[in-house]
Amino acid sequence: MKIHAMIVEDEQMARKELMYLLTEEEDVALCPSAETGEQMLQLYGEYEPDVIFLDIHMPGISGIEAANHLMNQFVHYPPLFIVTSAYDEYALAAFDMEAVDYLLKPFDELRFQKAMKRLRNQLLQRERKLMEPYVSNTKSGPAKLLIDDGERTAVLSPDMIYYAVPHKRMLEIHTKDRVISSRMTLQELEKKLYGFPFFRPHRSYLVNLNYIKEITPWFNGTSNITLKDMEHIQIPVSRTARKMLFKMFENNH
């Protein structure tokens, strides 16, 4: 699978330089470039690149501000950043936003290769970490879950749960024949289900992998999941999640 990269840079020639360097890499697919931080925020939702090559000094909001914005918005699968700058004064800020690397302009080819290597490693690590709960199928934790819906406590086994989605400040937990509303958060549920085959295809959905019937492509690399027994329900899958989903099925089956 290719690494999707986006360039955020206000200088035309500097964009061209990066484009050139990235097209030389066989495993990189370029998304359209952004010329300002605002434009990046716009384009990100559309393309969800794995990595953003980010210039700091740009008209309007700075690269750092734009990146912080993105990371707050996409907490679950934030993109990776490689900061590109003419000077090293933003190194600390880059460290703060956990950038993969800090490339000084003009780019040194060897240094650029090193940054790409680092990027590949981190993407791999991240994938592994995200898939860990599903890959290692040796389950732990209780076989039954206690879900308090405010009035009574329901006892569920994980394999009864089809999917969960927050709705009006409550968490709706869908089983085959009923919906349980609880005050717990999606994160809390995800934690409780650690080790069971549950996956977040989108920041507000948790799905039982065992009930996935089909994955249908939507637009811009996103997809929808259809579940067994619940064909009327379409669960959105982000582009990043889709990639992982495929990887998971490849590994397990």
């Binding site: 206000d10 200088e11 330089e17 309007g60």
Partner: protein, 585 residues
């Protein structure tokens, strides 16, 4: 007794007239100032002794019951006659002013003279003088904190010597009570009063002298102030010539020389036939003065060491002028006679030396401060913004592949830009044409980096006037537009640089169509470095500082927001004055 008193007062009046004339003589004043040593004490004893003799001569001779002789007591008197001497007045003054030694000395002189004159009671008359001198001298010790005894105290002290005199008379000549009766009271009255008046006169003379010292200080101040324009002169010969003619005009001197360590720079006044400029041989005293940085005084011809036989000078004061603890100049005051150097002259010379040295130091410090500040600002300006440099290099790196011709062009522009910045440190003013080249190089690079976001235009007359300008003044203004004014415009930004002639001025205008200056910064941006402000900077402030310090207040930056949006920064420089200054630097 009444006649006797009146007569004595008359005679004392005469004596006081003489004393008054004496105090007016220049020599007398020196008598009051000098430190006491043995030799001088003897001289003073002699002088007051003579004054005492005059007192005796101004006295009268009585003969039994009548006044025997109205005329002055010149020669010896007959055995039965008695001299009523007024010498005690002089002796008391001598004692009070000069102490026991001078008092006794004067007393002895006057006493011996009285004894030689003879007459009744000559031993008592003679003895009372040294005795009085000694006692008056001792009395003076009680008043040592006062320079001159106040007249009232002197009046009181003056009562005692005549009483002592009468006692001695009665001791040595028991049958003289008749004389004592006749002259006792008149003598006490007249003597004490005369002593009081005399002390008052001395007090006046001293006060005059103090006034003179104060005047000298004031004069020194005035002269030092007048000397300021000459001290500002960069050329040492012109400075020396101005200084010497000023001193000559203001002071009563025979001549003035101003030298540096090597040669005479200027000489005004007498002896200019052989005391000429560029003379490089100094008297050893002059070297001593320069070595020790202290004023030296020559009081003989041999000390001046002038080989010329008709040299008119006998005395000189040599005043070293120091700058930063180094002797820079030596000012020599020449006098025709040694006694022309009075204490006042010394005070004046000393004061002038210090004042001129101080002024030189202040001037040097000011000049140094200015240079340091200017160099500092230029250094700041010369620091190439690293973002600019590396972004440009990055641009060139890309252009090698995309457009090799343009890569070459931009490389050359960057070279121009950097070469200018390197030279910035060493030049405080550059021709406007060079400055324009610098701005052009900068603009070309920026334009190549942001071809779609920015349009920079440059309007200048065909031939750029031959004026000089602090280097890197226009470029920071353009940079300011791009960095701040157009900070938030991703496209459609415009920067205009306009250089135009307006009468005898050259106007430089830099404007943009960006966001303009924040209202609260508009007033401050040129007046203080805005380091705390998040969008602030020191660019405009530094440019403004250099424009003002090098071209004057009229060249200062005018900053404003345009009604249609964006900002305008503008300054003007006079065309003519500029050309001259440029050459000098």
């Amino acid at each position: 007794m009444k006649e006797m008193t009146i007569l004595l007062f008359e005679r004392l009046g005469l004596l006081l007239v003489i004393a008054f004339v004496l105090t007016r003589l220049p020599g007398f004043k020196s008598l009051l100032y000098r430190e006491f040593n043995l030799k001088l004490s003897l001289v003073h004893a002699g002088v007051f002794g003579l004054f005492g003799m005059a007192g005796t001569m101004a006295g009268i001779v009585i003969d039994g019951e009548t006044i025997g002789q109205f005329s002055f007591v010149i020669g010896a008197v007959e055995k039965h006659q008695f001299i009523v001497s007024l010498s005690l007045v002089a002796i008391v003054i001598a004692g009070l002013l000069g102490g026991p030694l001078v008092g006794t000395g004067a007393g002895i002189v006057a006493g011996v003279h009285l004894m030689i004159l003879g007459g009744v009671g000559s031993i008592a008359n003679g003895l009372v003088n040294p005795l009085t001198g000694l006692l008056a001298g001792w009395t003076a010790r009680f008043f040592s904190q006062e320079r001159v005894i106040p007249p009232f105290k002197a009046l009181f002290i003056g009562v005692f010597p005549p009483i002592l005199h009468m006692h001695l008379l009665l001791i040595f000549y028991p049958d003289s009570n008749e004389i004592v009766d006749r002259i006792g009271l008149p003598l006490v009255l007249s003597n004490s009063l005369a002593i009081a008046i005399f002390t008052a006169m001395i007090g006046i003379v001293l006060k005059e002298q103090e006034n003179e010292a104060a005047m000298a200080t004031r004069r020194a101040l005035t002269i030092a102030e007048e000397a300021l324009p000459f001290l500002k002169e960069h050329h040492s010969k012109e400075m020396a010539a101005g200084l010497s003619s000023l001193l000559m005009k203001r002071l009563k001197l025979a001549a003035v020389s101003v030298t540096n360590k090597q040669e005479v720079l200027a000489h005004t006044g007498m002896g200019d036939d052989h005391h000429q400029t560029e003379q490089s041989v100094f008297p050893s005293l002059a070297y001593e003065a320069m070595e020790s940085k202290e004023m030296k005084i020559a009081t003989t011809r041999s000390q001046i060491e002038c080989k010329h036989k008709n040299c008119p000078f006998e005395a000189a004061i040599m005043i070293p002028i120091t700058e930063a603890n180094e002797v820079l100049l030596l000012i020599i005051f020449y006098f025709r006679k040694a006694h022309h150097i009075r204490p006042v002259e010394l005070v004046l010379a000393q004061g002038l030396g210090q004042l001129i040295s101080n002024q030189l130091n202040i001037l040097t410090a000011e000049a140094l401060k200015f240079h340091i500040r200017d160099a500092e600002l230029r250094n700041l300006q010369a620091q190439i913004n690293p973002h600019f440099l590396f972004n440009t290099l990055h641009l060139i790196a890309t252009l090698f592949r995309e457009d090799p011709k343009k890569a070459r062009h931009i490389t050359v522009q960057l070279a121009h830009y950097m070469r200018f910045n390197l030279k910035l440190v060493s030049n405080s003013l550059v021709p406007l044409e060079k400055e324009c080249d610098h701005v052009n190089a900068y603009m070309e690079i920026i334009q190549a980096r942001f071809p779609n976001q920015l349009k920079i235009t440059f309007h200048a007359p065909e031939t750029i006037p031959d004026v000089y300008i602090p280097p890197s003044t226009i470029q920071p203004l353009v940079e300011n537009c791009i960095q701040h004014g157009l900070r938030n415009s991703a496209s459609g930004g415009k920067v205009e640089v306009i250089i135009q002639k307006q009468d005898d001025h050259l106007q430089v205008i830099v404007r943009d169509n960006g966001s303009g200056f924040p209202r609260e910064l508009l007033k401050q941006v040129t007046n203080k470095p805005l380091t705390e402000h998040q969008n602030g900077g020191t660019g405009l402030y530094n440019v403004n500082q250099r424009l003002i310090s090098l071209l004057g207040e009229d060249a200062k930056l005018h900053v404003d927001n345009r009604p249609a949006g964006g900002s305008e920064v503008f300054f003007q420089i006079p065309i003519e004055v500029q050309t001259k200054r440029g050459v000098a630097l």
